[in-house]
Symmetry: C2
Subunit: 318 residues, 2 copies
C-alpha cells in the first residue's frame, strides 16, 4: 500500500484561501512535496477589503520550511486569470495538477432576518459563481493532462438548513449540485470531484461558537481529508463528507419506497396523496438511489405497473 | 378527516409558470376554489422571447370553467412587482396565500460540454435568484397573515448530478439549500417550505425522453402533491419529494457512523484517512441527522472522546 507521505504530491495545488482552512491545506500540501499557489484576495470577514498580506504570509511560512509556493491575489471571480497564474508559475515543470476549489464565505454570522442576507449578492458571486469560474478555467487543463481533483466546500448550513443563512445555504448547496454533475462529466478524464462540509474554528466561526470550541476544532483536523481526496491513488468521486475534530463521515440520499397514489384511468387527487402520506414518508426498507438513471427508472416502472395492475399499491423498485 | 376537495382552497395561489407543470397546478388549484394568479413571461424553451399568450390561455381555461384567475407577465426576477400584482388582484378578499414558487428552466437539453452551460447566467438568474426574489417579496405578507406554503422545484439533475447539466444542477440544488433554511425560518409563522423533484413530460423533457414517455408522464400526476403540500391541513415542512407517474417518494440524508482518524496529541495524517477509508464510507448502522445541531453535536462529541480515550476508534453518535 503506497504512501501518501513526503514527495507524494509532485503536483501543483492551487489553494483558494489563505486564512483558516486554506492556510492549513497549503501548509499540508507543501509539506508533502506539492508546489502550491496560494490564492487569497485578502478580504475581511464581510468580503470587503483587499490585501496581499494573507497570501504572502502563508507563502513565507512554506518557503521557510523549504517548500515551493507562490502567492496570487486575484478574486476567485477572476477564474481564468487565477488559473493562468498557476500555469505561469509551475506549468512547465509539473505532470499533474490537483486543484482545490473551495471558495470562501463572506458572512457566517447569525443574522436575525433572512432578508438581510438575501440582499447581498456577494455570497453567491464568491461561493457559487467563484467555484464555477475557477473550475471552468482549470477544466480543460485537467482534461488534457487526464488528471484532476476538485474539492468543493459546502456547509452543514446548506445540507440541513440554518436559521439566518438562507443565502449562504443556497449558495453552498448549489456547489454540491455543481459537484454532482462534475463528478459525472470528469470521470472518464480521471477528474474526480468530491465535496466536504467542514467544521473548524476560524475567524468565520469564532462569532458563532464558544471560544474553547473554536480552539479545539482545529483546521488541521480537516486538511488530511482534503489531501487524501486530492491524491492520485484516491478513487473516490462524487462523494459528500462531513469532517471535523478528526472525525469523517460520508453522506448519501436515502429514499422511501414511496407510494403510487393513482389508479388506472382515474384522475389522481390530493385526497389520495393525503391519505397515503404516512406510506409516502415511511423510511422502512428505504432505497439508496445513486444516479438520475436509477431515480428515473423507478418512476417509469410505475407506469407499466399501474397499467397492468390498475392498483394503488404498486411501489417502484429502485 | 377533512376534505381537500372543492372549496377547500379559499386562498390566492400564485403559480409561476403556465405551460407544462405550471398550467396543471393552476387548473387544479382553481378547480378547488383557489383564486389563481398565473404568472408567465411567455419565454421560449431557451428562456428568450416574451408573450402574454401562455398565461392568458390558462386564465381563459380557468374562467371558462367558472374559476377565478388573473394573468401576470412579469419575470420571476421582478419578485416585488409580481407579488404586488397578486395583492392588487385579490389582496383584500383573501384570508391566506398559498404560494407556489417554482421558477423555470431555460434549457434542459443534453449539452455536450458543460462550458456551454456555464456561460449562461440565465439559468441562475431565473431558477435560483428568481426563487429568492419571489419568495422574499411574499415572505412578509405570509408572516403577517401567519400562513404560507412555498414549494421549490428542484430536479433529479441536482440531487444526483446529470451529464451536461452542471449549471442547471447547481441552480436546482441551490434551491433546495434555500428551502432547507426557509423551512426553519418560517416554522413559527406557519410558513412551510417543501421541495419537489418532478418528472413530467413537457416541452422541456420532450427533447430528452422518448415521445411515448413524454405522453405518459403527465403533469397531472404531479399537481396533486403540490396541492396537498399547499393545503393548510398539511403539516409537512422541510421535506424533499420525488414525484412522477403517480408515485411519490421522500428523501433524506443518511450518514455513516464514520471514523475518528486521529489520536490524542498526535498530528492527523492523510495516511490515517486512507487507511480508515472503508470505515469512513461504511453505511452499516447509518444515522439520519436531521439538523445542523445534530450534525455539529456528533462532531463535537469526538473532541472529548479523543481526549479521554486517546483512541482512533471512537465514533460519534448522532
Ligand atoms: N470553518 C468552518 O467551520 C466552515 C464550515 C462550513 C464551511 N466552511 C467553508 O470553508 C471555506 C473556508 O472557510 P474558513 O473558515 O477557513 O474562512 P476564513 O474567513 O478563515 O477564510 C476565508 C478566506 O477567503 C478569502 N477570500 C474572500 N473572498 C475571496 C475572493 N473573492 N477570492 C479569493 N479569496 C477570497 C479571505 O481573504 C480569507 O482569507 C469557506 O468556503 C467556508 O464557507 C467553513
Ligand atoms: N418536467 C420535468 O420533468 C421537470 C423535471 C425536473 C424539474 N422540473 C422543473 O419544473 C419547473 C417547470 O418545468 P416544465 O417542465 O413545466 O417547463 P415548461 O417549459 O413547460 O414551463 C416553463 C414556463 O416558465 C416560463 N418562464 C420562463 N422564464 C420565466 C421567467 N423569468 N419568469 C416567469 N416565467 C418564466 C415559460 O414561459 C414557460 O411557460 C421548472 O422549474 C423545471 O426546472 C421539471
Amino acid at each position: 500500500c503506497a504512501s501518501v507521505s513526503k514527495g507524494a504530491f509532485n503536483t501543483v495545488v492551487a489553494v483558494f484561501l489563505s486564512t483558516g482552512l486554506g492556510r492549513e491545506y497549503a501548509l499540508a500540501f507543501a509539506e508533502r512535496g506539492a508546489s502550491v499557489v496560494v490564492n487569497d484576495l485578502g478580504a475581511d470577514t464581510k468580503g470587503g477589503g483587499r490585501s496581499s498580506a494573507a497570501a504572502d504570509k502563508v507563502v513565507e511560512e512554506i518557503r521557510a520550511k523549504g517548500g515551493k509556493a507562490v502567492a496570487n491575489y486575484d478574486s476567485v471571480e477572476d477564474g481564468e486569470k487565477l488559473i493562468q497564474s498557476v500555469l505561469d508559475a509551475f506549468g512547465k515543470i509539473v505532470s499533474n495538477v490537483g486543484l482545490y476549489a473551495g471558495s470562501t464565505p463572506q458572512c457566517f454570522k447569525r443574522i436575525l432576518s433572512f432578508f438581510f442576507v438575501f440582499t447581498s449578492d456577494l455570497i453567491h458571486r464568491v461561493h457559487l459563481r467563484g467555484s464555477f469560474l475557477v473550475t471552468r478555467a482549470a477544466w480543460n487543463h485537467m482534461k488534457k493532462q487526464k488528471f484532476g481533483r476538485i474539492i468543493m466546500t459546502t456547509s452543514a448550513a446548506g445540507i440541513y438548513g440554518n436559521f439566518g443563512q438562507a443565502n449562504y445555504s443556497a449558495a453552498k448547496l448549489g456547489m454540491l449540485g455543481l459537484a454532482n454533475t462534475l463528478a459525472i462529466e470528469g470521470l472518464k478524464y480521471n477528474i474526480f470531484c468530491n465535496t466536504i462540509a467542514p467544521v473548524a474554528g476560524s475567524r468565520l466561526t469564532e462569532t458563532v461558537m464558544p471560544p474553547d470550541l473554536v480552539m479545539s476544532l482545529k483546521p488541521e483536523y480537516v486538511a488530511p481529508l482534503v489531501l487524501w481526496l486530492c491524491h492520485e491513488q484516491c478513487q473516490e468521486n462524487g462523494g459528500l463528507f462531513e469532517v471535523g475534530a478528526g472525525w469523517i463521515g460520508k453522506l448519501r440520499w436515502e429514499r422511501t419506497q414511496g407510494q403510487t397514489v393513482r389508479q388506472k384511468n382515474k384522475p389522481m387527487t390530493p385526497e389520495a396523496v393525503r391519505d397515503q402520506w404516512d406510506k409516502i414518508c415511511d423510511f422502512t426498507d428505504a432505497t439508496k438511489p445513486a444516479s438520475i438513471q436509477e431515480s428515473l427508472q423507478s418512476v417509469v416502472s410505475v407506469l407499466s405497473r399501474v397499467e397492468s395492475e390498475g392498483e394503488v399499491n404498486g411501489n417502484p423498485t429502485a
